[in-house]
């Protein structure tokens, strides 16, 4: 297997596997946030704020894998 093929597979694996975890995490996070809002609609504002903070941190992991995939795929290093 030549270097180019390895590089492409590595980039695809980086983004493919790297989004698995954040995807699960986002699903769980929004599930519980919506549950909380459903149970107590008056607290929706506060729940949404904390949900967005959580989303930001969870999604950051997926974004890191995107960065790594781009770095590998576009031969930046």
């Amino acid at each position: 297997m030549d270097v180019n093929a390895t590089r492409l597979i590595a980039a695809a694996l980086a983004i493919g596997l790297g989004t698995l975890g954040p995807g699960l995490g986002l699903g769980l996070l929004i599930n519980s946030a919506l549950n909380a809002i459903g149970r107590n609609p008056e607290a929706a504002g506060q729940v949404q704020i904390n949900m967005f903070i959580g989303i930001a941190f969870t999604e950051a992991l997926g974004i890191f894998s995107l960065v790594v995939a781009l770095l590998i795929g576009f031969k930046i290093f």
């Binding site: 967005f52 903070i53 974004i63 576009f74 031969k75």
Partner: protein, 336 residues
């Protein structure tokens, strides 16, 4: 019929050149996906040259569009709004309510920046979806402008290669003579420089607001250099009864401060690449779908309109939330 006439004319203007223009193009280009924006021309400003890339050029267009939107929405203001004024009022009311539920009384201070980011990102995301963004441009020869590192060219599908003539494959195979299409317009969100600038504005303004509200010293020493536990420990030490538990908490706080620093850096990275990644990936998906089947981009186009709005919304609301956190005093920790 009368109402639809302008729409038909616009569609005709956008569609007809697509059938006519390829016949005139003498040189075929391989479709390329480039992270780096192409430089259109260079401005000579005294001693140094200022490269103007297509994303910067489109940023100016976005600025002009926002200016026109603002002027036309507020030109003849009425008590009962209609048309553009209605849109503007809806936008501002929505964000005012949202800002009040997130930041409370501080929302009026944050909203100018948050709304500016929202409108700018929304306009640039949606402008990038307009027909004519991408396919219309100049063909940049490799000899004059060497293709920047990080350009991936792929071979055209056979059907398109037939349509464009045999030159396409020649150019693709020659390598060093490969030609690259530099589009005149490209969405600013597909340029890391734009998104990085927005992320820096967002994160730095959150720090500035935090220092304004809490005071510079209090902000830095309750957020990044948390030394209150150490001071308490030394107070007990001088009294002769040192509490070593406080020392442990002190080191824990120092560690928390370091984590806080790292999270600020991570915020910049995630802001930058969230917007860039979503919009850039969307445009690449549209390009690839167009090569598979002519009607296939339609559902993805609708998705990209939605994604463009959501990303603008997320960027703005995260800015608002981070500003709110930065201006909130860490009061609860001092009482337990």
């Amino acid at each position: 019929m009368k109402r639809w006439l302008p729409v038909l004319v616009i569609v005709a203007i956008l569609v007809v050149p697509g059938f006519v223009l390829p016949r005139f193009s003498t040189e075929a280009v391989s479709a390329s996906v480039a992270v780096q924006p192409e430089v259109l021309f260079e401005l000579e400003l005294g001693s140094f040259t200022f490269p103007v890339s297509n994303t910067l050029f489109t940023t100016w267009i976005v600025m002009i569009l926002i200016l026109l939107f603002a002027i036309f929405a507020t030109r003849r203001m009425e008590l009962v709004p209609s048309g553009l004024q209605n849109v503007m009022e809806m936008l501002i009311e929505m964000w005012d309510e949202l800002g009040h539920s997130v930041a409370g009384t501080r929302s009026r201070k944050f909203l100018p920046i948050v709304l500016t980011i929202f409108i700018f990102v929304l306009f640039s995301n949606w402008l990038g979806l307009m027909p004519g963004f991408g396919p219309i441009g100049i063909i940049v020869a490799d000899k004059k402008h060497p293709a920047p590192e990080g350009i991936v060219t792929f071979d055209l599908p056979p059907a398109l290669e037939e349509f464009l003539g045999p030159k396409a494959s020649e150019h693709a195979s020659e390598g060093e003579h490969a030609t690259v299409l530099a589009p005149f317009f490209r969405s600013p969100s597909t340029d890391i420089n734009t998104t990085l600038a927005l992320a820096l504005v967002s994160v730095i303004m959150a720090q500035v607001f935090g220092m304004q509200t809490l005071g510079v010293i209090k902000y830095w020493f309750t957020r990044f250099f948390i030394v209150s536990k150490f001071i308490e420990f030394f107070k007990t030490l001088f009294k002769g009864k040192p509490k070593f538990g406080l020392l442990v908490y002190g080191f824990l706080d120092i560690f928390m401060g370091i984590l806080e620093f790292i999270s600020e850096i991570a915020k910049i990275v995630s802001f930058t690449f969230r917007l860039f990644g979503n919009i850039f990936a969307g445009e690449v998906v549209l390009l690839i779908m167009a090569f598979l089947f002519f009607a296939l981009p339609l559902p993805f186009y609708a998705l990209e309109i939605f994604v463009g709005f959501i990303q603008a919304f997320v960027f703005a609301i995260l800015t608002l939330v981070f500003m709110t956190i930065a201006t909130t005093a860490h009061g609860a920790e001092e009482h337990h």
